[in-house]
Symmetry: C2
Subunit: 246 residues, 2 copies
DNA sequence: TGAATAGTGTCTATGAGACATTATCTT
DNA sequence: AAGATAATGTCTCATAGACACTATTCA
């Protein structure tokens, strides 16, 4: 980077924004947070929360944390956050050129559609409705959601990311619901219990239980110390296996 | 993104650069292209090829292609190129704030250290020497290389990316050398042949052969149509398996 | 003791990894 | 036929996936 510049040449500067793909599970549904746009372009349309850097000195990650707080009322220090990538097509914003850095945030299921914030227009929306095109998004936000969701789905296989969708303590059934909702696939309960418990450092027992009115109490776990899952939990083959034509 | 702006507020604009992590295999060595910096800061130091957008209207991907041509003499349309991410720490460039979008490019082994270009100072360097810190890089380029290399290593498992390191036609042994060099691990030849040939759409036979002076001729293949590998080629466990303590 | 939820065990098939020999070509 | 390189087959073990029953609690 940083080419040989003549004294007179000035590299073009472009406004920088951050966009947030905040994912969560609410009642076993895989949701993304969208806000209704209050201004043109796409006024009244649905979009990802986000915004411009507040100053030329603000770190992009800090900007993501700030928007997370301002637009979603969430505390980023408690969440899993990672960068998805930069989206910089010259025509992505009709008002003029903007380069946006997208972040993925995973939040434990929040009962309320987030209130007391800037963006009172924020609402949880089914990820499926977005990906299917049933809910239309402004700008290139659909592509951003696609990339972020695929990232989350893939990381569920190899990392303990699923625990980020759960609270501090969770049951194995809770964890299974995460996998099923994010992957959009049903998993066998017995195989899931076996695999999850075999992976070293994925979940550790708290010794406590959760009882709900009826039925046997469920044991509670917390996230373990592993950063990678060995062996991984693989997604069910959507390409079942080459139809042994014969 | 695109917050409610009052008429008077103007979002801060920042110079945008692209950095390229160009990876290849040369004589079974896994190499990255570095350039010697001609100007301060880090004058005389090693850095990734790259540069600022040429104009405020240039697409970032196009800028990556342009730099690939200018600084490495490579034709991007023939290469695998993907974005790694945005690097935007406010202090990453001592001259002032720059946001850089990093791209990963995979090139078939090129015999010569790339000549007849802008950057005659460009040179292939062993990736291991960079990752080990033996070769020091300017700015935050080490972090960029780490991210890009990990991306490449991971994608080798699930995608036919390895074929991007090879020419149009290659032997199975060529392909194995790619995996061994990028992963830094020895693979069993017999298992490799079996697995590679079982994966549908990974490689397809050309019916032709390559003969080198002596020995049995090797069959030549070309990249198949698959975009994902089923089943994947997994990296040898560096974390061998929980030492069954007992 | 019945209803409700939590948790486990076994069998089969497939892939991973270790390992040595046969095949084809040139000189 | 000797030398060199290419290619393959078998065995064992671990994991994936299909599948049904037992355990614990509360009313």
């Amino acid at each position: 980077m940083q080419q040989d510049a003549t004294e007179s040449w000035v590299p073009p500067a472009i406004p920088i924004a951050v966009d947030l793909v905040i994912l969560t599970l609410r009642e076993s549904r895989f949701d993304v947070l969208l806000v209704e746009r209050g201004i043109e372009p796409f006024k009244g349309g649905q979009a990802l929360p986000g915004g411009f850097l507040s100053s030329a000195g603000e770190d992009i990650y800090d900007a993501a944390l700030r928007e997370l707080h301002e637009e979603a009322g969430l505390d980023g220090s408690a969440l899993h956050i990672e960068q998805v990538g930069a989206y910089g097509a010259p025509d992505r914003d009709p008002r003029g050129r903007v380069l946006s850095v997208a972040y993925l945030a995973i939040a434990p299921g929040l009962p309320e559609p987030v209130a007391g914030t800037d963006a009172s227009a924020a609402a949880w929306t089914a990820v499926d409705d977005v990906l299917s095109g049933h809910v239309k998004l402004a700008f290139d936000h659909l592509a951003i959601v696609e990339d972020a969701v695929e990232r989350a789905r893939a990381k569920l296989e190899h990392t303990p990311l699923a625990t980020a969708f759960c609270g501090k303590r969770f049951t194995i059934a809770d964890l299974q619901r995460v996998y099923e909702a994010v992957w959009g696939a049903d998993l066998d309960l017995r195989n899931f219990y076996r695999k999850v418990q075999r992976v070293e450092g994925f979940i550790e027992s708290t010794g406590t239980e959760r009882r709900e009115a009826k039925g046997r109490p469920a044991r509670l776990f917390r996230a373990g110390s592993a950063t990678a899952l060995h062996p991984p939990l693989t997604r069910p083959d959507r390409t079942p296996r080459a139809e042994e034509h014969q």
